[in-house]
Amino acid sequence: MTALALGAALALPAAFAYLLLGRLLGPPSRDLLAVGARLAEAILLGLGLSALLAFAWLLAGGRLGGPYAAVDAGAFVIAAAGLARAARGVRPAPSSPPDALGRAAQVALALGLVVATAAVVGGIARLPHGEWDAWAIWNLRARFLLRAGSAWRDAFVPDLAWSRPEYPLLLPLAVARLFAYAGETTAAPQLVAALFTLLAPVALAGAVARRSGPLAGGGAALLLLATPSWIWFGTCQYADVPVASYLLIGFALAGASLEAPEERGRAAMGGLALGLAGFTKNEGLAGAACAFVVWGLLAWRARGARAALRELSAVGAGAALPALAWATFHLAVSPGIAPALTQSQSAASLAAKVLDPERWTTILGHAAGVFPGVELWLPAAALALPVLLGLRPRALASVAMLAPALIFLQTIAVFLVTPLPLAWHLSSAMNRVLLHPWPALLLALFGAVPPAEAPAASAARSAAR
């Protein structure tokens, strides 16, 4: 019964998001990877959209529970039915079948997902409530949202300052909504964690394959699955994998819309994903801001200021709902934003920190030591494999490459001026923060690979010779 309820809670918003993506982006091609990636994007975006609906319900005075599940299900069924009527008769775009290596990459990715699923399930079995931050912050808040009824704002009282009440609410809302459907069960946060950990690589594979073919797509996703901190923080039930997942989807969609500015729907869905990253964690908001800046600059360079503003407005329109939720949360529920980091510091103290070479060395050295997968040389593999596949350096001037670079600089800047003890702050946060742009970096590097020729084109060329 619990499994059925959890399945319904996930399937309904996912169906709505799938149809919405189809309406705005067109249907995916018949290719298995394209359909899988679209499903992955739909499930993750559906989780975010359903969290926004639950937040609106709470703000309107409602409480999460059985009656809310009925309202939520009804809303998504009606919305999905409306989109399904409009989508009748739309045919998927034709696609050429992948060559033998492309098919082999898809098989390898499928096997990789099976092994990663076993690793995630094993990790969750060892840590059923997640690691420290999961039960002290995210799942604690989800319990409040469910158990406190109309007094849910009690979760944000100053007495609970240690539980970081200023952190945005997407993840607790997503979990509490599953509680409303299935009752309070540890399976709910476990399922959410597993979905983000396992579906983001599929979304990555699809996004890369759209540009560079299934071999590059499979390679990028396999490297993400190979990243130890990806699986680890996923099974910890922390918010970092969800933030990285939404940033990835946002960078992929917004980046693709740069090449096809007439596809406003793609830009809007990219904006939605970036906004959801911001409503998951404040670092996600900073990452989304980096994407907006880079996206605007690239569009400006390509088509001029007026066109860039017009196109940026589509991204902004997509981000509007989660941005509104974030602003309402901070204005009406929990006013502080990163209070530990925004303590006032004198200009002299800030300048001393910024000009301290030892501080730079410590921060950069720590960043190099905890970069995702560095212990297994995965960043080197992430560079070497695209080079092996014929990487085009000019294609690296993309949102997915430049926005993570900006996120990295911003991360260094935050650690440079942090008022917290540097060694403690580095050891407790740097590895998680560096995970946020990692999938997007893989997207940028493997997305800069030229697509392999389709077998039919290759055969035609041979015949012409």
Binding site: A119, L222, P228, L389
Partner: protein, 149 residues
Amino acid sequence: MRLSPLRRSLALLVAAALGLALPAYRLFQGPRRSPAANSPGEADAVLSPLRAALPPGARLGVAVLEDPATSASDAARLYLTEYALAPAIATPVMLRDCFERGREACGLGKVGFLTLAAPEPHATQIAALLGLVPVARSGEVVLLGRRAP
């Protein structure tokens, strides 16, 4: 652009080897966990029976030996109690302060209930010294209140 099948095959082999071997290694690797990582389940099992005795909006003290800001074990005790007994709002109460400086100074005056991990008869004796009575018990933990249920 036409790449040799060898280069493409090599790239696939490396990616597949990494993507399959590393999650598989993780599967058989021992647990990476902090000492408190398994505690939420235990805290839930012990403390959740006490939830029924707590009224909505209850303010709950958690008896600790040291300030949770400086003691990891007392911080864990506070956080785990909050996790298990939410939406009651848990705050730390240092018993030593209660005896040395009085109820108000230790924060006992601000809460309606107190969780105390102590076996009998010590729990009842401490409750009497604090002017509280046992309200409910689960395992080694007793919930103290101002009056009997």
